[in-house]
């Protein structure tokens, strides 16, 4: 069968003021009818530009400089706009990353979907609306007829993405391009959406191009994968082969950088050194060579072509890694200057309790009208207690809106608790005031998620790092500057970075800078709020390694907040799982991960995609169904009961207390846990008759 889509040597260039970016540089790929092709790569690898080239939706200055794109035998690359318009939406549908900005907020969703139908089909308004209701039903929207008349803001994030998919499918395209369709969504919703796309692909017999940075998403959903790096395809083959036997060093390095696999051994992650090349003047040699641990002189002089042992497995490398080579020369070829995965592990002996939260409550008032009348409260944190021991990492994990960030902000003092106590090193933080409070601040520092937003754009890095010392009146000017230089060494930034402004650093470097600022006051506890979620896998590994290395060196304690269970598990000694303002499970990381007692924890673990195709395919229909209820009127009793497969009547009436599940402080709050609790007396009341 001829491929549905065939791209030959596609070159897409973007003209900018300072030169031409070779965003896509000679990409060839094909998509068979009915299959899912995954395009995976880090930001700037050209994966989105490839997708936009197919759609003819390149940004200003972007143009196809060479190559062909054939859809069903018809050349569509660089067609005039009015011809492309007929193909777009009709034969190729596209789903974008952010469902909030992709929908028009002033139009009802019904009209928006009908618009897509009416543009391509000769139908009446009523027929178009009927079709809209039909596709909404198809994408699993409850009560589709009634919801046609609603506006995008009345839908949740997951539902909006369903609307986007419905719109893309309204004209039954042969090819669906999904560009990071779930990146903005929570894992439980991500799983639902990915399952939907997969299901629709089978039912409608269409092909899907799934563009993503997440190897886990690719593992479970794609039939074949193309790994892109710096505008070129590094390796392409079917999913099983790629994950079992990657041949390109970049692919291999990506796998090694994932925290999933290192979580059990707690080895340091392999981090790809450096940053991707500048695509304005791409190197004439192998583009990965400067970051490759196997690179030889040959790699830095000549560009490898996309070849392989068979047409089904292509890779662009002179010295491929993987099974065929293993045991022969690989070890000998490892460049001595660039150490491979270090065998060093990190196991810690936790000390005394350094931070204790007791019954933390935070309500945000909901006000209305001119006089700011209080009409309700968002219950962001509802009675959370936990202990963090000196020298350990306590991971707080949960979906967005579960209150994990609020807890972090309460601890660093950016918010005031409605009720409850936070004691730090024996003293109560809330009762300290004025000078004493500011002194206490030194011991607890905060690492922001968005390092770009948290660094003053008008300050040089040196001034930013010096500011904490200036505020706390520590040392003379020379001492402060010396300490800034020391700190830059610590976090792996060059000393001349002090003269630079935040925008002159890359994402990973900025996160190092944010980390350095948090370390300036020699804190004992660092609250890190999603410090790596905005970073690419290879850069994420660099930052995670840095964090764990400095934890050992400086005896730091971390409160690590993240939505990413794999990252939390890798770094944490203890994990707390939050759901809608409640701590539902807490305990040692391995125990919580391997023997979760709470159904929500189980669901989270099942929802999170892992880079293992076999495991991904095996866990069909697991995960958490439904969506997060409103925190303004949370469900009675157990807050998780509305989405829980085990919920019974008692769950709506009695709020389950945290009960111990092992001697190692493993606790969970559930009436019908997945594991057997320790003491039977405490549970007898909740046991079903």
């Amino acid at each position: 069968m001829a491929p549905l889509l065939e791209i030959e040597d596609l070159r897409t260039y973007i003209k900018l003021r300072e030169g031409t970016v070779h965003a896509v540089d000679g990409v060839s790929l094909y998509v068979e009818p009915g299959e899912t092709l995954g395009i995976v790569g880090e930001s700037g690898s050209g994966k989105t530009m490839t997708a936009l080239s197919i759609m003819g939706l390149l940004p200003v200055g972007g143009h196809i400089a060479g190559g062909t794109i054939h859809l069903d035998g018809q050349q569509i690359g660089g067609l005039p706009e009015d011809v492309m318009r007929k193909i777009r939406g009709d034969e190729i549908g596209m789903i974008f990353q952010d469902p909030l900005t992709s929908l028009n907020p002033t139009m009802t969703v019904g009209k928006q979907i009908a618009e897509a139908v009416r543009l391509h089909r000769d139908v009446t308004r009523e027929q178009a609306m009927d079709r809209a209701a039909e596709v909404l039903d198809l994408v699993g929207m409850p009560r589709p007829r009634e919801r046609l008349g609603e506006y995008p803001h009345q839908f949740s994030g997951g539902m909006r993405q369903r609307v986007m998919i419905a719109m893309a499918l309204a004209c039954e395209p042969k090819l669906l391009i999904a560009d990071e369709p779930t990146t903005a969504l929570d894992v439980t919703i991500q799983k639902q959406i990915l399952e939907l796309i997969d299901d629709l692909r089978q039912r409608l017999g269409m092909s899907v191009i799934l563009v993503t940075h997440d190897l886990g998403v690719i593992a479970g959903r794609a039939d074949r994968v193309a790994v892109m790096y710096a505008g070129k395809i590094a390796e392409t083959t079917d999913t099983g082969t790629l994950f079992a036997n990657p041949r390109h060093p970049y692919t291999e390095a990506l796998f090694h950088a994932l925290p999933d696999k290192a979580a059990e051994t707690r080895e340091r992650l392999y981090s790809i050194p450096g940053v991707p090349p500048d695509l304005v003047n791409p190197p004439k040699a192998c583009r990965f060579a400067p970051r490759c641990r196997y690179a030889q002189d040959h790699c830095r002089e000549e560009e490898p072509r996309l070849l392989g042992e068979n047409p089904e497995h292509l890779y662009a490398c002179f010295y491929p890694v993987g099974e065929a080579e293993r045991g022969r020369t690989v070890a000998a070829r490892v460049n001595a200057a660039q150490p491979a995965v270090s065998a060093e592990t990190f196991a810690r002996v936790p000390g005394e309790v350094v931070l204790a939260a007791k019954g933390l409550v935070k309500d945000f008032p909901v006000t209305k009208g001119l006089l700011q009348r209080r009409v309700g409260a968002v219950s962001a944190v509802a009675g959370v207690s936990f202990d963090v021991r000196r020298g350990e990492t306590f991971g707080l994990v949960g979906e967005s809106g579960c209150g994990k960030t609020t807890i972090g902000r309460l601890i660093v003092g950016l918010e005031k608790a409605t009720a409850g106590r936070i004691s730090f090193a024996g003293g109560d933080l809330a009762s300290a005031s004025g000078r004493e409070y500011r002194r206490q601040r030194r011991k607890i520092q905060y690492m922001f998620q968005d390092s770009y937003a948290s660094l003053d754009p008008r300050m040089r890095a040196g001034t930013i790092l010096r500011e904490p010392l200036v505020v706390q009146h520590i040392g003379s000017r020379q001492e402060q500057q010396r300490r800034v230089a020391e700190m830059l060494d610590h976090v792996g930034l060059p000393r001349n970075a002090v003269e630079r402004y935040p925008h002159e650093f890359s994402g990973g470097q900025r996160q190092r800078l944010g980390f350095a600022r948090a370390l300036m006051l020699s804190p004992e506890l660092i609250v890190a709020d999603e410090p790596v979620s905005a970073l690419d896998v290879s850069i994420q590994a660099q930052v995670l390694n840095l964090m764990s290395a400095l934890q050992d060196d400086l005896g730091l304690t971390y409160l690590f907040i993240s939505h990413d269970l794999a990252v939390v598990r890798y770094l944490s000694d203890h994990i707390g799982v939050m759901y809608l303002g409640k701590l539902v499970e807490v305990g040692p990381a391995e125990e919580v991960y391997l023997q979760p007692a709470h159904p929500y924890t189980r669901g989270l673990i099942d929802s999170a995609p892992t880079a293992n195709p076999a495991a991904e395919k095996a866990k069909v229909r697991a995960g958490v169904t439904g969506e997060l209820p409103s925190a303004i009127s949370p469900p009675s009793g157990c807050r998780f009961r509305t989405r829980c497969p085990r919920a019974q009547e008692i769950c709506a009436e009695v709020e389950p207390p945290l009960r111990p599940f092992s001697a190692k402080l493993h606790m969970a709050a559930c009436h019908f846990p997945l594991e057997v609790p320790l003491s039977l007396e405490a549970t007898s009341a909740a046991e079903p008759a």
């Binding site: 030194r442 008008r458 764990s548």
Partner: protein, 326 residues
């Protein structure tokens, strides 16, 4: 601080590294080499880099030239080309441009080139002074309202809303009838209305800056509120303030011209460009073509206002740190 161990050996010039002393060393050494930002030249000052962005904009450079010329023309011009701008000389009434009077004379026999300079002095003085007064007051008012928030903010901003809802032309007319219009009075009449818009703009700016993470970061490191305001919020809104100031100059000159055109400008023998324009229109309908009464003043107003607007646009770019090259 004693917790910090001495930094590991920095990478030598070559790619080969010494055995790293510890885990952190592994990372820092490898990556300092790999990430190594190329050594930069001696850093230039913020103003210097701002100027480079500004100078890239040719239109802005030309506009800056235009403003400098206008200021020189009005304030230095009379020293070179001195004319009697006090005594009426009816013999010269409405004489056309020619020898002795390059731009001719108006109906009272004042030399128009000299009058353009005198009028320009008033216009530019009022323009600059009104801009400074209104931007200064508006910034303080708006920033204060934005910081304190809550009911005080609500009250202060309702005052601004009330002020903006009054038709200003009417009040300007009443005020300039009550007071005998002098340069000082005109400055305050214009500033009384102009600061309202500035206050509203700066308050909005402050509201967004207040929630920025780098302002919150000050709280985390134990800094006071005043530090957040002085070191972070003000420097980050200075661009808006200065750009607003530039536009305020142009707007004030226009308002003054408008008042002068309505016959409410400064009283004779002093004059401004608007008043000159107003005079000229009285003779527009006659058989004679007294073009020299209209065009010079009109062109002066347009050139000055357009120049200030272009300069304002270019300043906005110049103050954007991200656009500055190193």
């Amino acid at each position: 601080m004693s917790m910090i161990t001495p930094p590991p050996e920095g990478p030598s010039a070559g790619a080969v590294l010494d055995a790293p002393p510890n885990g952190a060393g592994t990372l820092t050494a490898v990556e300092a080499a790999e990430l190594g930002l190329e050594p930069t030249a001696k850093p230039r000052s913020l103003l210097r880099r701002g100027w480079e962005v500004f100078a890239e904009n040719k239109l802005a450079l030309a506009s800056l030239g235009g403003v400098v010329f206008m200021v020189g023309f009005c304030f230095i011009g009379p020293l070179i080309y001195s004319t009697d701008q006090v005594h009426v000389s009816l013999a010269q009434s409405l004489c056309p441009p020619g020898s002795g009077h390059p731009l001719g004379c108006d109906q009272l026999g004042y030399d128009l080139l000299g009058r353009l300079m005198t009028g320009g002095q008033t216009s530019l003085e009022v323009g600059f002074a009104a801009a400074v007064v209104s931007v200064l007051f508006g910034t303080l008012y708006g920033a204060f309202a934005g910081f304190v928030g809550g009911p005080i903010d609500a009250f202060l901003m309702r005052v601004v809303d009330a002020g903006l809802s009054i038709p200003y032309i009417m009040v300007l007319i009443i005020l300039s009838v009550i007071f005998r219009p002098s340069t000082t009075i005109m400055i305050f009449i214009i500033a009384v209305f102009y600061w309202l818009g500035v206050a509203r703009l700066i308050r909005g700016e402050t509201l967004t800056l207040r929630t920025r993470e780098y302002v919150q970061a000050v709280k985390v490191i134990g800094g006071r509120r005043s530090r957040a305001i002085i070191r972070h919020i003000v420097p980050n809104s200075i661009g808006t303030i200065i750009v607003q100031g530039t536009f305020a100059v142009a707007d004030s000159i226009l308002i003054l011209a408008g008042l002068g055109f309505l016959g409410l400008g400064v009283s004779p023998p002093a004059t401004d460009w608007g008043t000159m324009l107003s005079n000229g229109t009285n003779y527009l309908q006659s058989q004679q073509n007294y073009w020299w009464l209209i065009y010079p003043a009109g062109i002066a107003i347009i050139v000055t206002c357009i120049s200030f607007n272009f300069i304002g646009d270019a300043l906005r770019d110049a103050f954007e740190t991200r656009l500055q090259r190193r």
